[in-house]
């Protein structure tokens, strides 16, 4: 026997609807996790990534013993966390003798691991070690510029994948309208060698240039680090095709109060509120100006006038 289960509250319903697969998706959320052991570097990298991504990220602070993304069976609890938190990008930090200061960046499709790339962290410089004018500090959740330089991102398959993952990680939500004054950060990735990428986070200063386009100055605000490529796993070809599918028909926005008529063409409907004639204030309501009184007075005056005439006549 089956039972239909529906959420008991409207809030729960809204939450479920938010998680459902959609034609136009919301931004990908990021899950930040620790492995069994993390060095100071790795934990601060995870902390600072969380600070950069705040609003679109969830950070787990406990150690995870059963997560080994590259091994079979080591991804079950990762997939469970993804389902639980509705995150589709994860950053997993660990530190072992074999792979010191290790970071695994991965993406999920339908809460299953889509692709993975493992990088080592070198030359890490924390947020706190940068000194700059705090006025230009980027705001939380602002849309970043993302820049990639170096031919490695075009030729080396690992770097190509890293570029895609980093873009997905940093770009945030896809927006239609953008406030130009809100642009205040940029991520800069440079391929130094076929296995090494320099990544830094900069604040943007918009200077006057005399034209509409301002002159742009970048100030490094950190964190900055070198990413050394280690292992990677490319997505399954079938899965990739499935995940890249997009629908041609955009969801139509419902246009209210506009009809299309064969004879008359486009017809609009306008709402006119009820005309409460009875409630319209009259010009003057004071006693002296009332019509009856006015007329009465006139009448009286006439009568008096006639009466006086009569009197005069009688005299």
């Amino acid at each position: 026997m089956m039972e239909i289960r529906t959420p008991k509250t409207h809030k729960a319903k809204r939450v479920l609807e938010k998680r459902a697969p959609k034609l136009v998706e919301n931004g990908k959320k990021t899950l930040i996790l620790h492995g069994t052991k993390t060095s100071a570097t790795v934990s601060s990298v995870l902390m600072e990534l969380y600070r950069l991504k705040k609003g679109g990220a969830i950070k787990y602070s406990r150690r995870n013993e059963n997560i080994r993304p590259f091994e079979s069976g080591g991804e079950t609890s990762l997939e469970f966390f993804s389902l639980k938190t509705d995150c589709s990008i994860f950053v997993y930090g660990s530190h072992t003798k074999k792979r010191p200061d290790n970071l695994v960046l991965g993406r999920m499709y339908d809460h299953h691991v889509y692709d993975l790339i493992e990088v080592g962290i070198e030359n890490f410089k924390s947020l706190l070690s940068f000194s700059y004018d705090k006025k230009i500090a980027p705001h939380e959740g602002s849309k970043p510029f993302i820049c990639f330089t170096g031919e490695g991102f075009d030729n080396v398959p690992e770097l190509k994948q890293l570029k895609e993952v980093l873009t997905d990680l940093f770009r945030g939500e896809v927006v239609e309208n953008l406030n130009l004054t809100g642009l205040d950060r940029a991520y800069i990735c440079t391929a130094i060698s076929p296995t090494k990428v320099f990544l830094t986070h900069c604040a943007i200063k918009l200077k006057k240039s005399g034209t509409i386009v301002p002159r742009i100055e970048l100030v490094e605000v950190g964190p900055s680090m070198d990413l050394v490529i280690r292992r990677n796993r490319l997505p399954n070809e079938g899965l990739r095709k499935e995940a890249m599918r997009s629908s041609k028909d955009k969801p139509k926005k419902k246009v209210k109060n506009v009809d299309q008529n064969d004879v008359l063409g486009k017809l609009g409907r306008v709402y006119i509120p009820e005309q409460e004639v009875g409630k319209i204030p009259l010009a003057d309501k004071s006693k002296g100006v009332k019509r009856e009184r006015r007329e009465g007075k006139l009448k009286k005056n006439k009568e008096e006038g006639s009466a006086s005439k009569k009197l005069k006549e009688s005299e």
Binding site: M1, I4, P7, L16, L183
Partner: protein, 318 residues
Amino acid sequence: MDTEMDQIYQIDVGNLLAFNPNHRFPSAPSSREELVKECVTEGTKLVQAIADTLFNFPSTETVDGPLVQLPPPTTKLPREKHLPMPKPPTKWEEFALKKGIQKRKKDKIVYDETTDQFKRRHGYDRVNDDNDIPIIEAKASDEPGEDPFAKRLDDKKKRVGKQEKNRLQNLKTAAKAGALPSHVQLAVTALPISGTKTQPQKIGKDALGDVAGLAATSTASGGKFDKKLPGEKPPKKQGKHHKYLPVVPRYGVVDEEKEQTNKVLGKLLSKHSHEILNVGKAINMYNDKKEKKKSGRSDKLKAKKDITKKKPYANKAN
């Protein structure tokens, strides 16, 4: 100038993304600081290139600043979840399509003739509300002794139940197509959703008592010499389940044993005793046996043939 820049850089304004695939360090940077400086200046160029296109878009002024409409992103990135599946038509929708029945909107408010008023179609104080009728006229088809009011209620309940059943069926087909509405979950009542763990069932008082009784009587002595716990009741069934009927009946009572045997004999010897026999089953059994016999024989024959063939061959070789 702009076209040259575009050729050098790959720009995706929708993502505010720029890529310079042609950059090469003029000379290997000697120190870390030099490298960082070089990277940042290169990045500045890229950001400037995006800004050049971005700030030239038509903008609308708002209180917070100029708003620009971004084009859709050009870099293809994988989706987070699969595309939503189209919802399969319900039984009714299928039927309506076949018959050409079209949806039409009904007014919320309907004229009620009995009260000479406009009333709601559904809900409180609605049109033609059955509950408002105090008297139901008797019909010739009415069954005597049946409460028409109770019957009406019962019918309504049945209709609601049927609709619920139909709804469940439609949801099941939708679930098969992967198009279940996001807020609906279909759960098997007897089994957990995960399917791995068995759902802990609540054990009732009776079941607990049964288990306790079983445990208490499962010693060698049948629990005779065990210490009783405070509040423990004596086990429900104690030995002797088979009751033998007395051979000699008590005075004035019908002989039960005789009656029992009589009953069985009567069944067998009665006029319609052939109806007890399941003829179909009997034929099947008979046929089965026959076939088994046949196949057994053929096996034996085959085996013999093989032996006879081999023997002369072996002789020849010798």
